[in-house]
């Protein structure tokens, strides 16, 4: 039994490790300084890079977080603290359904809402699409994390005479913060590699974008285009891009955990 369990656990690790290993092996050899500081170059020109796509991905993540995190967390607070009614059930159900909608559909939604009326592809329409994907994850994890805060803690706070608002913000939210952060990181990790919703929103850009109402480059888009090209150099750069994307997600996760970890102790399993 024990052996079987170990075997199964090992088997689930195999695809993960092989993907990491393969992308690492293919990606690292293709990395060089040019890749990080130069703009994409056409076939036959040496020294092409993805600097604009790396920055673009970070900016898109930042813009999406800007609106999706507050909305998700406040929504989660509503669900956990005031959501034991019909409205709460409806919101919960809607969020779960939204979570299951294919990302390309959300891309088309953003295209209809943002791109068509503005008559232009733009960074903000991309951030809108990505944010919509983030919200249900953040909202539902926030709710679950808040629910895990012991009732006694809330009662103690209220008994000391602080308002419900202060209790929620200073006690409940603070206690649940590491868990909420995990939810946010999961959401970021999910959107960082999304290609489909960006095809018809952020659109991609071979140059530096100049403002957020213009198309913006993104790593997954650039990888997608390069990976299916007939040229070795571009395919090589696609591998490098895939590797950098994984590293970015890892770094975001690591730094955020580090910053939070300095201030709060992570709850150990009880």
């Amino acid at each position: 039994m024990c052996t079987a369990a170990f075997l199964c656990a090992f088997l689930t690790l195999v695809p993960l490790i092989s993907i990491f290993g393969y992308v690492f092996a293919k990606g690292v050899v293709s990395l060089n300084l040019d890749f990080f500081i130069n703009l994409p170059r056409p076939v036959g020109e040496v020294g092409g890079g993805m600097s604009n796509a790396i920055a673009g991905t970070l900016i898109l993540i930042g813009l999406s977080c800007l609106w999706a995190i507050p909305l998700g967390i406040i929504g989660g607070i509503f669900l956990s603290e005031f959501g034991d009614n019909k409205l709460g059930t409806t919101v919960r159900f809607t969020a779960d359904v939204l979570n299951g909608i294919p990302s390309i559909v959300i891309g088309i939604f953003a295209y209809t809402v943002f791109v068509l009326p503005m008559k232009s592809f733009s960074a903000i329409s991309g951030a809108f699409a990505l944010g919509v994907i983030m919200i249900p994850t953040i909202m539902r994890t926030t709710e679950e994390m808040l629910r895990m805060v012991p009732r006694t803690l809330r009662e103690a706070a209220l008994a000391l005479g602080i308002s419900q608002f202060r209790m929620t913000v200073s006690i409940v939210l603070k206690t649940a913060l590491p868990g909420i952060l995990t939810g946010i990181l999961l959401a970021i990790a999910r959107i960082a590699g999304e290609t489909a919703p960006l095809l018809f929103t952020a659109f991609g850009n071979r140059f530096w974008h100049q403002n957020f109402t213009q198309p913006i480059a993104a790593l997954p888009l650039q990888i997608f285009v390069y990976a299916i090209s007939p040229f070795d150099d571009w395919r090589r750069q696609a591998w490098a891009g895939a590797f950098v994307l994984i590293v970015i997600i890892f770094l975001i996760s690591f730094i955020s955990r580090f910053v939070i970890g300095l201030r709060y102790k992570f709850p150990t399993s009880k």
Binding site: G44, V115, K119, F203, Q210, N211, L221, I228
Partner: protein
Amino acid sequence: MKKLLLVSIVATMAAVFMSNAALAGRLLLINGAGATFPYPLYSKWFYEYTKVDEGVNFNYQSIGSGGGIRQILAQTVDFGATDGPMTDEQLKQAPGEIFHIPMTAGAVVVTYNLPQVSERLRFSPDVVADIFLGKIKKWNDPRIAKDNSGVNLPGENIIVAHRSDGSGTTNIFTDYLSSVSVDWKSRVGKGTSVNWPAGLGGKGNEGVAGLVKQSQGAIGYVELAYAVKNGLPAADIRNKTGNFITPSIETTTAAVNGKADSMPSDFRVSLVNPDGADAYPIAGLTWILVYKDQPDKVKGRKIVEFLRWAITDGQKYSTDLLYAPLPESVVKKVEEKIDKINY
């Protein structure tokens, strides 16, 4: 430590936003979208053009010909691009008159996997059609052997590989098969994706190439550039005049030349089966789509300047990337068309 990290994160973000603000308004960005097939050439052009005109950046994204047509109709891009001309119906939907500006030509090659055959195979048009119809099932079929005397053809089964996704390459290839085979025209027809009577589907050029590479006895079709860059064999095809033609840049340009005299004024023309003794018969044009009356004067002027440059000076970049440059006679006609764009 924590403060340091926070400060550095905030500083980086501020720097990014400031650099955004500093760049804003200095450069004109013109967006285009469409066909994947000419993407390598277009990216080369737009890269070189930044040296010709430093005040403008052309951003081209290869979302597919269908996407390019839809986006130019929705006016979300400044220009579109397609491998298959817009239909009359699509042109009617447009809010203004749309011009097709031919930019370059490409060829579709028939590739195969027969390690025991070292000679380049030759096919007659009706044989290609019947192989893809599933009528010719063995490599040593007498009809294949007839065109390849002296070649020791194996008795293996033919495995047909085709594109599973919508594609301009398929459009050119099925357009060709429809023009050479009545049976194909009535049973399958032409289009970016058709109902294949036989074979396996692969996504993209690399999907078809992968299928062909993996299975001995396979046959498929890919773009010329893809076959050359990946060392795939490309069969000679018999053209209208009866010559077997090896696909190459020269024979593709010859195909454009073969249609030069009969080129309609809107350039919506199929290049398959052209006249000319050395014209490769499975070729197609690729177009940039622009509105005749440009909605934005500044952008309109820049687009026209670029188009003029691309079909003259820009043509010299084609051959390196395995696209066929437009012949002089066609360039003249295209220039006249570009002059009609209002801005």
